[in-house]
């Protein structure tokens, strides 16, 4: 099989992993050195595909031959898909070529399980090791970790990779048993624990070799089982707390060819996925707790974003006086982000904040209006009932764009 045919199959097989981030790596540069590659912690999106997703890394599978039969996966052994397998050398050549042409900032390599979890993991490590040691490649490397592989192999992978990830796959253990018979929650969380322990040890001793400095991430498939958003977000919160994950990715289940009867056939729930990402962002960047955003059961509203939903449910806190409030509270106002909150605070050291000052910052002023007080403005909607306000602020029409 020609390289180009393998690439056709093995890129297609890799697209269901949502992550393409090249962020979190330490600063590395090849300026004036042999070899190539640089990282600066930020990551670059080199292209966007018509699904609106960023292309930052060469994201491929080493092979889509797989012994497992996970129902939601296009590469499950019972699936009738074309199969291919790269040699490690082919992956290395593609990575270096794509990197130098400035198409990507590195490699995200995953694989179907062939022969054994250990064998598969060894193959992934080999690619990263040769890139780093023989080609002095300093670009970004993200390796998917096979949960059932020997912890010693996971530890080795972390010496070459910037990021490791183990997919939790589904929000609940029951769903995993039903849809991914060969996988177990205990081995998935066990691998996450191995990564976190190795990472802690490396951070504690400055002379120790770096271990996956970009941390670990995971992915949860949304809409392949009946789990609600509350379940999904509580699982995410637990993972963030326990394994210090950098990111949880939510991947709306995309119907696959020859779909088994156990998974849905509908179009992917993109708006739901979007709301989950918004809620996740509030957990990571704004100090929200899941219980503030959602009850013990149920889904996030689709017509308004989770921050607005929280504000509407907590009207007693609002309106907030921008000239007096704590920065953290300002960042909790709908339509005002952390960055704008910082700008308001530095501006108010110099002058009283007026309404036009807020309008000039990059805030979503229509959303913020009912919730703020400035030296010259008091919201007329302050006494309006939340349900009425919600109808006014709902972004249903704008969101239709999601369906292109």
């Amino acid at each position: 099989m020609e390289l180009i045919d393998k690439l056709t199959v093995l890129a297609d097989a890799a697209k269901y992993d949502a992550s393409c981030a090249s962020s979190g790596a330490p600063k590395r540069s090849s300026k004036g050195k042999d070899g190539i590659g640089a990282t600066n912690g930020m990551g670059i999106c080199h292209s966007y595909t018509p699904d609106g997703r960023c292309v930052s890394l060469l994201k491929i599978l080493l092979t889509n031959f797989c012994l497992y039969d996970c129902q939601y996966c296009v590469n499950r052994r019972s699936s009738d898909v074309p199969r291919a397998r790269f040699t490690p050398e082919e992956v290395i050549k593609l990575t270096l070529d794509f990197y130098q042409r400035n198409y990507v900032s590195g490699l995200f390599l995953s694989s179907g399980i062939i022969q054994s979890p250990d064998y598969t993991m060894e193959q992934l490590i080999r690619v990263a090791k040769v890139l780093r040691e023989e080609h002095q490649f300093r670009g970004y490397i993200h390796l998917k970790t096979i949960p059932e592989a020997d912890p010693a192999l996971i530890a080795e992978a972390g010496r070459y990779a910037d990021r490791l990830s183990v997919n939790i796959e589904l929000p609940s253990p029951e769903s995993l048993i039903r849809l991914a018979p060969e996988k177990q929650v205990s081995s998935i969380t066990g691998a996450m624990g191995t990564i976190e322990t190795a990472s802690q040890e490396s951070r504690a001793d400055r002379r120790a070799p770096k271990f996956a400095p970009g941390g670990q991430s995971t992915q949860m498939i949304v809409g392949a089982d009946a789990s609600d958003d509350s379940r999904i977000l509580h699982t995410a919160e637990a993972l963030y707390g326990e394994y210090r994950l950098r990111r949880v990715y939510y991947s709306a289940f995309s119907p696959i060819p020859n779909s088994p009867a156990s998974v849905p056939m509908q179009a992917p729930p993109l708006l739901r996925e979007h709301r989950l990402y918004q809620a996740d962002f509030l957990l990571r960047g704004y100090g929200f707790k899941v219980k503030e955003l959602i009850g013990a059961q149920g889904n996030l509203p689709l017509d308004i974003d989770p921050k607005l939903a929280w504000a509407l449910a907590n009207r007693d806190i609002f309106p907030v006086d921008l000239n007096l409030a704590e920065p953290q509270l300002i960042a909790r106002i709908p339509g005002i982000g952390v960055r704008s909150a910082e700008r308001i605070v530095s501006l108010r050291r110099l002058k009283r904040i007026r309404f036009e000052d807020v309008a000039r910052l990059r805030c979503v002023i229509e959303k913020a209006k009912p919730f703020i007080i400035t030296s010259d403005y008091h919201p007329p909607q302050a006494t309006l009932e939340s349900s009425v306000l919600r109808r006014q602020l709902s972004d249903q029409p704008a969101q239709m764009a999601l369906w292109g």
């Binding site: 297609d12 697209k15 966007y48 031959f65 074309p82 593609l94 060819p257």
Partner: protein
């Protein structure tokens, strides 16, 4: 009213502005003309006069951060770009610190320009497409890129960090940068032989990359608005993948966005992996699946 021209050069503008500040000349009494639209009467050299004893005379020291911000905002291409910079500088020198902050009318324009400039640098880092030239012209890689602001000189060293000792050239219609493996050289205007070299490769296709791009795209999640928001239309012509987008969009729509598979994959024949040993629950390690080798 004094009319000046600084050849769109920041150092030149800074010298002029420093002198104006010393002479206590307010922003409304001076105007800079653009290099490309110069009036005949413009650009009298500044008279070397003795500083007046105005309020700014003894205190022309300005914060280092402002100088850095002015320098970045100066890369923003707009007619009359230097006038705002002097107004901000003047107001800060007069003690109005908020003139450089986003909440102020001048400050918000300054910050907006800085943001656009840094976004344009980001676009450079993202959307440059290097074509290998195998040593032609003493170079390894050549690209054509058309930035909207004057960022080529300040933002290109990024590629020396990525490409180590490799030699490369980036050409735009206005200027060019070349890295010879050791140092960066900026030329404005771009030398003709550099432009010709870049012109000869700019439309080269790359089947491997185009294949990857088509395959990694999920047709069941079509969302062209978000794509275009992040990757402005003006760059598409310079991207080997840009030419594929209209076809990918229409095919995804025609396929009714059923599932995520690329058409090229759907057209190949599939392979179910049958493994008796596995089904019986034998250990994975001892297993020799019939589908181990590339198909």
């Amino acid at each position: 009213m004094q009319v000046l021209c600084c050849e769109d050069d920041f150092e030149c503008w800074r010298d002029q502005a420093r002198q104006l500040l010393r002479q206590d000349i307010a922003p409304h009494a001076v105007v800079w003309e653009d290099r490309d639209h110069r009036q005949l009467f413009a650009s009298e050299p500044l008279p070397a006069s003795t500083p007046r004893a105005g309020p700014t005379a003894q205190a022309t020291r300005i914060p280092a951060r402002l100088l850095d911000e002015l320098k970045r905002a100066a890369q923003y291409r707009v007619s009359g770009r230097w006038n705002l910079l002097y107004r901000v500088l003047w107001r800060v020198a007069m003690g109005e610190r908020q003139a450089m902050l986003a909440g102020d009318p001048d400050g918000s324009e300054l910050q907006r320009r800085i943001k656009s400039v840094s976004r344009e640098a980001h676009h450079l880092h993202a959307f440059v497409r290097f074509h290998p030239v195998m040593g032609r012209g003493g170079l390894d890689y050549v690209a054509w890129h058309e930035p909207a602001h004057d960022i080529l000189a300040s933002a290109s060293l990024h590629f020396a960090e990525r490409l180590g000792r490799q030699r490369w050239l980036i050409v735009s219609s206005r200027d060019a940068v070349c890295y010879d493996g050791q140092a960066l050289h900026h030329r404005q205007p771009c030398p003709a032989d550099w432009a010709a070299l870049a012109e000869s490769v700019r439309d080269n296709a790359d089947p491997l990359w185009q294949t990857y791009y088509s395959s990694i795209f999920n047709p069941a999640r079509l969302n062209p608005k978000v794509m275009q928001g992040h990757m402005p239309l003006r760059f598409w012509a310079g991207l080997p993948e840009g030419r594929l987008i209209p076809t990918l969009l229409s095919r995804a729509r025609a396929g009714a966005q059923k599932d995520g598979q690329a058409e090229a994959v759907a057209n190949k024949s599939g392979k179910v992996i049958r493994s008796a040993a596995y089904a019986k629950g034998d250990s994975l390690a001892g297993l020799k699946p019939d589908a181990k080798r590339p198909g």
